[in-house]
């Protein structure tokens, strides 16, 4: 049981970090960013290039992943989403644009980084083993701590910084925020950049554990959408809760249901359908949006 909890917490921390960026973008711009998984993959490849190819320290790779994806996010918002949102009131326009960006990023990743699975050397050697009741490598503990630190830093930033307050105001009521003098265009761009930056950061973190490959983007996006559906779309605390719930469900399912074959995600999807039919706005979302 201890091992299940530890696995669940570790998975939950990384999932929550993935979901945070997605829910931030959704809350600010009402955009379902289908390219979020590809951004995560791109971030992983940036860290891989910096650490494995250029031989620089992991922390440099991590910071560069965040910066590169932040800039990419800002450019995508300014030159792609902003004009589309200005010209079209139909929500599917932004959804199609996001899907197009996902395909585009897949192609760019293939061209720049190739088709192979990539990884970097272990950042910390050794395994914590408590009498085989809990077995967890030290690098996973480190990544867990870094992920939790990033989540806390993000919450503090949103709570106490001027930019964070402006973005929260934007998320609550875009028109009211604009009337109160919030520069909607600027903070939308910052929000999108921050969301993409979080995707890049988690990609950089996980390349040291799971490695990265071209095909990881789509499944990562699907899991991220599941998390924000569980927690409530556009709600920061909901994304965190959704991430930890999904991580824990996966850990429990993979251990207890293993004898029945690979039915963990089947069970999770069935539970999700039942849950959403009862509470379509998720755990912490509001029925009115």
């Amino acid at each position: 049981m201890e091992q299940i909890l530890v696995n669940g917490l570790y998975l939950g921390a990384q999932y929550a970090l993935i979901a945070l960026g997605l829910t931030l973008i959704f809350s600010l711009m009402n955009v379902l960013n289908f390219a979020h998984g590809q951004m995560y993959v791109f971030g992983g490849f940036v860290t891989y290039t910096v650490v494995a190819q250029l031989g620089l320290p992991f922390i440099v790779g991590l910071l560069l992943s965040a910066v590169v994806l932040g800039v990419m996010g800002a450019l995508i918002e300014k030159f792609l989403f902003r004009p589309v949102i200005a010209r079209s009131k139909r929500e599917e326009s932004t959804m199609l644009l996001a899907a197009g960006i996902a395909f585009f990023l897949d192609a760019v990743i293939l061209l720049l980084f190739g088709e192979k699975q990539r990884g970097i050397p272990k950042i910390v050697d050794g395994v914590f083993n408590w009498d085989f009741r809990i077995v967890i490598p030290y690098d996973r503990i480190l990544i867990f701590v870094l992920a939790i630190s990033a989540i806390v830093a993000f919450i503090m930033y949103m709570q106490y910084s001027k930019t964070g307050r402006a973005m929260r105001a934007l998320a609550q009521d875009r028109v009211a925020a604009e009337l109160m003098g919030v520069d909607v265009k600027y903070y939308s761009m910052i929000g999108f950049a921050l969301g993409a930056m979080l995707a890049g950061l988690v990609g950089g973190l996980l390349v040291s554990i799971t490695g990265i490959n071209l095909g990881m983007g789509g499944p990562a996006s699907i899991k991220a959408f599941m998390m924000i559906m569980i927690g409530g779309a556009g709600v920061i605390s909901g994304a965190i809760a959704g991430g930890f719930i999904l991580g824990m469900m996966e850990s429990v399912g993979l251990t207890l249901l293993a004898v029945y074959g690979d039915i963990t995600y089947l069970v999770i999807f069935v539970m999700l359908m039942i849950f959403l039919s009862i509470r379509p706005q998720g755990l912490m979302g509001k029925p009115w949006g």
């Binding site: 696995n7 293939l110 192979k116 990539r118 077995v135 490598p137 490959n213 071209l214 095909g215 789509g218």
Partner: protein, 395 residues
Amino acid sequence: MRRRILLKSVAAGLLSLGLFSSAAMAANETLKIGFVGVTSGPAASWGISNQRSMETRAAWINETGGFKIGDKTYDIEIVAFDDQKDPKRAIAGMEKMAQEGIHYVVGPNVDDGAAAVRPVAEQNGIMYFPYAFPQSLYTAPASNAVLGMVANYQSGPAIYKYLKAEKGVKKVAFIAANESDPLSQRDGGVKAAKDLGLEVVSDSVTYQVDTTDFMPVLLPVLRTRPDLLVLSGVSPANAPQLIRSAREAGYEGIISTETAQDAQVLKEGAGKLANGFISVGGASTPEMASDMMREFVERYTKMFGEYNDESNTKVYALEYILETIKADPAGITDVEVFKKTMDTFEVANPYMNGDAKMKYVGTSSFGQKRQVAVPLVVNVYEDGEFKTLFVAEVD
């Protein structure tokens, strides 16, 4: 005036350039060879190594004047289609090949795709070279598919027998992705292990192909304390993570697979933890590789930046197609002629040292020659490179 002269010069230049290009293109006819396989998603590495191997060899042939078949010389054009590992897309890809008048196709890479394209290939007179293992594809009445590699039911028993005799393996556990290929390979492996008298302690645990954390998946398997952990049909993307998680969880037994892997990917993903990992290697290990194979690797690396060890096997399909057509040029549009040629076809293997031959095999497994002859090379990974454990022959 000067402007008019300039315009005339440009027009004349463009015209002559066009004429020159046409003349150059008219020098050789073009022979199109198709590829239908997966070049996107988690298994992209399998198909991309196929496609790039074909493109490298085609560019090499074209650069050196083309490929002579009968009294004509052809430039080789590779027409590629990404089936995204989706059988419906694979069918669409094979239909595209038929529409383009292509009679020879490499791929698909996986079982369900290869099975799905069979009717299209047979109706349109297409020979195809899948990297998929269902025996029904290669056994009569089927006759248009040619297995492009060594199947798991051919390599698995050889590996288990070796490990039982040499390493004292008694208990085996299998883990596979929840997809048709790995599952069928697992079932084949379980049967082979039981036939050899090995105890199968776990064969029901599967994982999603997009799993990122394998520790929870592996723990129930490792609790059965196997001497050998078989990663059935594992993709190069998942292999390093599975190995790493198993070792980090304290597993000290042997880990093996029957699929081809890439040493660099293992090195980056699992490092020293991958030492001792046994896989089926490419058909041209450093000891076996000829000068032509080394040049192929150089050209591939120059074209695409980095070589893929899986191409040691995937270099062969295009070579087999071209050389078999060359043996009887009527086969260029008539696959029935090609099939007849296959029965007696035998030429020197240009990618291997010694007197190795390119010929069709498979009579033992399929009752007819529907498999390319590549040696069964079983490798062990040690410190960033594969070392040959043993070599065997199929048929």
